[in-house]
């Protein structure tokens, strides 16, 4: 384990040009800042989610509201058959709403590792998104450049006894706080899946990647891609938006 770890570390240093990291800049602060830049105080977005599989592909249009690090609400707008299905995430709990049966179902803990709506995102990826800030310790691994800007590679190891899903995460954050890549490793520190951001452009009044792609290692033809159609950052969103009543309303 230690040996493997050392090799991994070594690899990290070889692949990224070894520039002594500015120790003044705190890795924790960078991750926090990057996360906040990504999520904003609150946001309203329309996203097309493309689930790609070797022999089929499916697209869903999702409207998403997020607030702070913890609360999110998603609605499926298209295809028409699924219109009005919603997911509410509050803290670490999740509920799903289906308009056809007009019921709200709370996702049980045992189901949190299952995929969300058949995508490559698991319920945990959504529910525990802020786990990265709370449960992990961050340290610099190296730096790189991207579009002429400096990029930090950060290794995030879980704190002892933290209730985490991943054994390690690797983050690639640009100096202007744009989140470029997030890699998920299991307990044996082997890469499981990667989320990559690209097509960085102006969105919601700031530079933001328009496409996010989540795919499992070694499966190039199985991925889930998020394409931001619109994104609006807000200073705040009302409390009553992130409630079960609001989830049931199936906002149009």
């Amino acid at each position: 384990m230690v040996k493997r770890f050392a090799i991994l570390l070594g690899l990290g240093y070889v692949s990224f040009t070894m520039i002594p990291v500015a120790s003044a800049l705190d890795a924790d602060a960078l991750v926090k800042a990057g996360f906040d830049y990504w999520r904003g105080n609150a946001s309203i977005a329309t996203v097309i989610m493309t689930i790609h599989r070797p022999n089929w592909e499916r697209e869903m249009t999702i409207k998403a509201w997020t607030r702070g690090q913890k609360d999110s609400l998603f609605y499926i707008e298209a295809p028409p058959k699924d219109h009005g299905n919603g997911t509410l995430k509050k803290g670490r709990e999740m509920w799903m709403y289906n308009p056809k049966v007009n019921r709200i179902i709370k996702i049980p803990p045992s189901m949190m590792s299952q995929s969300w709506m058949g995508s490559d995102f698991s319920n945990n990826d959504l529910a525990k998104s802020d786990s990265l800030l709370i449960d992990y310790e961050h340290s610099f691994m190296g730096t790189d450049t991207h579009d002429g800007k400096k990029v930090y590679v950060i290794k995030s190891m879980p704190k002892p006894n933290a209730p985490v899903v991943w054994g390690m995460q690797k983050l690639v954050i640009r100096e202007d706080l744009i989140w470029l890549r997030q890699e998920y490793y299991d307990e044996e520190l082997t890469l499981v899946k990667t989320m990559t951001a690209y097509e960085i452009g102006m969105l919601g009044g700031k530079l933001f990647p328009q496409k996010w792609k989540m795919h499992n290692v070694d499966e190039a033809d199985r991925y889930t891609q998020l394409t931001y159609m619109s994104l609006e950052f807000k200073s705040s969103l009302p409390d009553n938006l992130f409630t079960l009543t609001s989830l049931r309303k199936a906002r149009r």
Partner: protein, 412 residues
């Protein structure tokens, strides 16, 4: 009767009590082997036949590699063609079609993840024991829609009883969201905890509607007349499925692939059984060895005299072997006959094992086990006894060759 045989015969009865004890030991070991082997084979067959009747069937037909991924998209799109095919194959007792999906099930209070199975109620009853394992409420009827059978442990966890409603939420074949409300019609207890804790059954038509399946199904489940037919039917099915659709053939898989755990537990049990039998045979072999060593020590003087008057050591060895083999053959034959009789008796009556049902219910065995007498179970054990005792008797018999007549005559 040659003189050798006569001598052997007299020697056998020189000490009748010892001889009888030896024969009894051999007979008892053989008897035990015959019965235990038959019992084991019988219990395996019972185990397999009961297990396949819980859910899996002897054989299933799926889309290629369905067993590996169990994806809802891997369907058998034309079940009617399969039905026609199955009707042409003899020795198939019954078959049914099922759909399988994974969903969330939710009562007012709780939510769990479960395997949802769409079943054809009438046909299902001929293939599996589902109908008879319904403990509360009723089995599904042909005309039922939006009704469900729920496993006992799941019902307990969800706090539901027949008549209550549960919500299902999952994903359809086309990737869309599948949701419905079904009312609980019955609660079953299959004896297998995993099934009772995490499965529900709904009518196939309802299933196809909810999960956007169209006409498609996921598995065709087949029960054949006898376990020994499984291999042949599987082979002929695979050939026919291949010719039906050469590009992307459906595949038939048997119970061993469907329940690898069952096969493994049978193998493990067989190995531990074999170790026990081996120990039994070794114990018998030592008792034989002891008898014959005694016979030689006792008769050293006699052998010396016989050799002094011109009997060759080979001849004495032969006499000794005739003695030992006569005893062993009598013993093993008696063992085979008595063992077979006992086995046949229990084969028709069965052995009540309801006392051990907790342990065995995890293998799907409830009630009675019927031993199964076959040529293998009747002959192989006693044959092993025969061979091993032969070698046990050979050692003392060969010792005679080393004897010197003069010394032997002086022995006490």
């Amino acid at each position: 009767m040659s003189i050798d045989v006569k001598m052997a015969w007299r020697n056998i009865w020189r000490n009748p009590r010892r001889t009888m004890l030896t024969i009894c030991a051999i007979a008892f070991a053989s008897l035990l082997l015959v019965f235990m082997l038959s019992f084991q084979f019988g219990s395996y067959e019972t185990m397999i036949n009961t297990s396949v009747k819980i859910h899996t069937g002897h054989l299933q037909i799926h889309a290629h590699e369905y067993l590996k991924k169990k994806s809802i998209r891997q369907v058998v799109s034309e079940p009617q063609e399969i039905a026609h095919l199955l009707q042409t194959i003899p020795k198939i007792e019954a078959y049914t079609f099922r759909g399988q999906a994974f969903s969330l099930i939710s009562s007012k209070e709780r939510t769990y993840g479960v395997a949802v199975t769409g079943i054809d109620p009438e046909r299902e009853a001929t293939v599996s024991r589902l109908k008879s394992s319904v403990r509360e409420g009723e089995f599904l009827a042909e005309s039922d829609k939006d009704q469900a059978l729920v496993g006992k442990l799941l019902a307990k966890n969800l706090h539901i009883t027949p008549g209550d409603e549960v919500t299902l939420l999952g994903q359809g074949r086309d990737g869309s969201i599948a949701a419905t409300v079904v009312s609980v019609k019955g609660i079953y207890s299959s004896g297998i905890d995993e099934i009772d804790r995490a499965s529900i059954h709904i009518p196939l038509k309802t299933f196809q509607e909810i999960y956007a399946m169209g006409n498609a199904i996921h598995e065709a489940v087949i029960i054949v007349e006898s376990l020994s037919d499984v291999d042949a039917i599987k082979r002929s099915l695979n050939v026919k499925l291949q010719s039906q659709n050469p590009d992307n053939p459906l595949t038939a898989v048997d119970w061993e692939e469907l329940m690898p755990g069952l096969r493994q537990s049978i193998e493990m049990d067989l190995v531990s059984g074999l170790i026990f039998y081996l120990l039994l045979i070794i114990v018998v072999a030592f008792s034989i060895l002891n008898t014959f060593l005694m016979a030689i020590f006792e008769r050293t003087k006699e052998f010396g005299v016989l050799m002094a008057i011109g009997t060759t050591p080979e001849r004495l060895t032969k006499v000794l072997l005739i003695e030992s083999m006569t005893m062993t053959s009598v013993g093993t034959s008696a063992g085979i006959i008595i063992g077979s009789l006992i086995t046949i008796y229990f084969q028709s009556r069965g052995i009540d094992i309801s006392g051990a049902s907790d342990l065995l219910s995890q293998f799907g065995i409830t009630g009675r086990i019927y031993p199964k007498l076959s040529w293998i179970s009747a002959i192989s054990g006693p044959l092993a006894v025969l061979i091993i005792t032969f070698f046990a008797a050979l050692y003392p018999a060969l010792k005679i060759k080393k004897m010197r007549p003069v010394e032997a005559m002086r022995a006490v």
